[in-house]
Symmetry: C2
Subunit: 352 residues, 2 copies
C-alpha cells in the first residue's frame, strides 16, 4: 500500500479515515498531517461525488502517508480516484455494481499497480443475501461469501494486491467472520468493528473485537472506528497493538488503580507523567527505558513493579523513586513530579 | 458473595474497589453508593491497618452491595475484617504468611460462612518463585501453582467458597494464566488486568485482556483496574460485558465514525443522545428499544443500520429519522436532537 507493506508478516499497520470535506483538500491534508503525527500509517478518504474525486490528486500528492479512496455505489468515482494517483481503493461488494463494472475497475487497478480492499459490511450486504439467517453465524458466512466472490472476480482480471475486511457492529459476528475467512484464504485482513460508537464505547468494543482477532493471529492492518476525532482512532489503534505486544510501547507504562492505601494524588500524577512522556515521544526523542511504573503504595510499589526501569511508589505525603526494585531516593509529594521527570530526562535521547 | 452469586453459570458480575481512606467510613460509603449507582455488583475495600479494620463493621453494614476486605501481609487484619461482618475476603498467597496463619484464617472464613478470593499477582509472587523463567509462560505457570497451593491449603481446612484471580499487568501473561487455570480447575475466576494504567490505556488493556478471557468462556466476575475514579472502572466493566453479549445493553447504541460524507455534527449529536440515554437508564426507567443507530449519511444510514429500532441518518443540513430501515420523517439539523428524543420518549417506560 504505497510505502507501507501490508500482509506477509509485515508489522500490523494503523489506519484511520478523514472526516473533513474531501472537496476541501486543505482541511483534508491538515487532518492527514495530524493523523500522521499521531502515528497513522495509512489514511482513507471518502469520495462521495465527482467534485470530491476532482480533489483526490491534490490530496494523494500532498499526503505524507498512503491514501485510500473509499468508494460506494459509483464505480466511476473509483476510476477517477485511481487516475488521480491514490495508493489504494476500497470497494464494497454490496454496492459497487455488476461484474462488468468490477471488470473495468479491475483493469484500472491493475494498470495503476495499486492495492484494493474488498470491504464487506453486514449492514450493506448485496440484496441477494437478504434471506440469510440473521444470527452471527449466518451473517459471518454471508460476509465471507460476498467478499470472496468479489476477490475471485478481481483475480479473474489479474488483480493480486487484494486485502479483505469483514465488518459488523457486533463484536462476536466480526470475530467469527474474520476467523472463517482466515480458515479458507490467505488474503491480508483489514480488521475493525464498524460503527462501534462514541469515544468510550467505541474504544471498548474495538479493543475487545480487534484484540480478539489479532490475538488469534489474524489481521494485517487495523482501523478503529469511533464517533470522535479520527486522531482518537489512531491513538486507540496504537495502544491496542501495544497491549498485545504487536508494537513496542517504549516505554510501557503501568500504574495502579489506587485504593484505600493510597496517600498521594496518584491519578493526577500518573496523568501528568503520561502526558509528559507522550510529549517527549511526539517530539521525536527516544526514551531509553522499557518499563515505567507509577504506584500508589508499598504493596503495589517496588515489589509489584520490581522489573520497572523507573518507578514511583507513594507513601504518606511523600513518595519513593525506585529502579529495578531498588530505592533511588524518597521525595516530598510536591516535588515528586519534578524529581521523576529529572530522572526521565537522564534516559531521553534526542535525534540529531 | 453475600447476595450476589459468583460462578456456576451466574451472570458475570462487575467489581470495583474504593480508593477513599478506609478509616473514614462516611467517604468510603459515599463512594460505594456512587459505584452501586453506576452498576457495581461487588465492592472491595483495602484494609491496610488495624484502624481501617476497626471501621469495617460500619462499612459492611452500611453498604448496599457485598463488601470484600482486601488483605495483604497481616493475617490478623483478615480475622478482624471477618469478625466485622464483611461478605468476603481477598488474600494474596504471596504475602499472607505461612500455613499456620492460613489455617487460622481458614477457620474464621468457615465459621463466618463467607467467600474467599485467592488473588495471585505476578509482581507479588512468593519468594520461592523467584527463580522462574520471567517470560509469559513461566509467570503464568507460577501464578497457577501459587494460587492452587493456597486453595488446597484452604480446602484442607474445609473452605469451599473459593474464587481465584491470576493477574499481571501484561495482557498475554494474564490471558495465558487464566486459561491454564481453567484447564486444571473449576474454581470461579475473578478476571482483570492489574495496574492497567490511566483512563484510556487502562480501558484498552482491560478490554483486550478481559475480553479475550471472557470470549474463551472463562471468568465469573471482573474488575477493571484504572488509575482513575473507580466509577470509570464500573462503566468500563459493564461495557465490556455488553460488547461480548454477556449483558444486555438495552438499547445497544451504534454510531458511525463520520467521514468526508458527513454533513451534520454527528459527533456532538451522538454524544448528547448517548448522555440522554444514560440519564434515562440511571433514573431507573426502561427504554423499550433493542438497537439505536446514529449515522452520518445515506451510505451508513438506514441501510447499514436497517435492523435499528430507531435511528438517525444525516444529510445536507438535515437528517432522517428511521425505524427498521423505513423513513419516519426528515428534520432540519437544528431540530434533530429534539425530534429524536421525542421518539425515544414514546418508548421509555418508568417504573411505578
Amino acid at each position: 500500500m504505497g510505502s507501507v507493506p501490508v500482509g506477509g508478516g509485515a508489522p500490523v499497520s494503523v489506519q484511520s479515515m478523514t472526516n473533513t470535506d474531501t472537496r476541501d483538500p486543505d482541511s483534508t491534508l491538515a487532518q492527514i498531517l495530524a493523523l500522521q503525527k499521531a502515528g497513522c500509517d495509512i489514511v482513507r478518504v471518502a469520495v462521495p461525488d465527482r467534485k470530491a474525486s476532482d480533489r483526490m490528486r491534490e490530496i494523494a500528492e500532498g499526503s505524507p502517508i498512503p491514501v485510500i479512496a473509499d468508494i460506494h455505489f459509483d464505480y466511476r468515482l473509483a476510476l477517477r480516484s485511481i487516475d488521480a494517483g491514490v495508493h489504494g481503493i476500497r470497494i464494497n461488494p454490496g454496492n459497487i455494481g455488476d461484474a462488468k463494472k468490477v471488470a473495468i475497475v479491475a483493469r484500472a487497478i491493475l494498470e495503476a499497480g495499486i492495492c484494493v480492499r474488498v470491504g464487506a459490511n453486514s449492514g450493506s450486504l448485496h440484496a441477494k443475501f437478504k434471506n440469510i439467517n440473521k444470527d452471527s453465524e449466518g451473517i459471518a458466512q454471508a460476509l465471507v461469501k460476498s467478499a470472496l466472490e468479489q476477490c475471485r472476480l478481481l483475480e479473474k482480471h489479474g488483480v493480486e494486491k487484494i486485502k479483505v475486511s469483514l465488518k459488523s457492529s457486533d463484536v462476536a459476528t466480526t470475530v467469527m467472520a474474520c476467523r472463517k475467512l482466515a480458515e479458507v484464504s490467505d488474503y491480508p485482513q483489514h480488521v475493525g468493528i464498524t460503527e462501534a460508537g462514541t469515544l468510550r464505547r467505541g474504544i471498548i468494543k474495538s479493543s475487545v473485537g480487534i484484540g480478539a482477532i489479532l490475538s488469534s493471529g489474524i489481521g494485517d492492518t487495523i482501523r478503529v472506528s469511533l464517533t470522535a476525532d479520527p486522531v482518537e482512532e489512531v491513538k486507540t489503534g496504537i495502544m491496542i497493538l501495544e497491549s498485545i505486544g504487536l508494537r513496542a510501547g517504549a516505554p510501557e507504562i503501568v500504574s495502579c488503580p489506587t485504593c484505600g492505601r493510597t496517600e498521594i494524588d496518584l491519578i493526577k500524577l500518573a496523568g501528568r507523567i503520561e502526558a509528559e512522556i507522550e510529549k517527549i515521544k511526539s517530539s521525536g526523542a527516544i526514551i531509553g527505558l522499557k518499563k515505567i511504573a507509577i504506584m500508589g503504595c508499598v504493596v503495589n510499589g517496588p515489589g509489584e513493579a520490581s522489573d520497572a526501569d523507573l518507578g514511583i511508589a507513594g507513601g504518606k505525603e511523600r513518595g519513593a523513586l525506585f529502579s529495578k526494585g531498588r530505592l533511588v531516593r524518597t521525595i516530598q509529594e510536591k516535588d515528586l513530579l519534578r524529581a521523576f521527570l529529572e530522572e526521565l530526562r537522564k534516559h531521553t535521547f534526542h535525534r540529531e
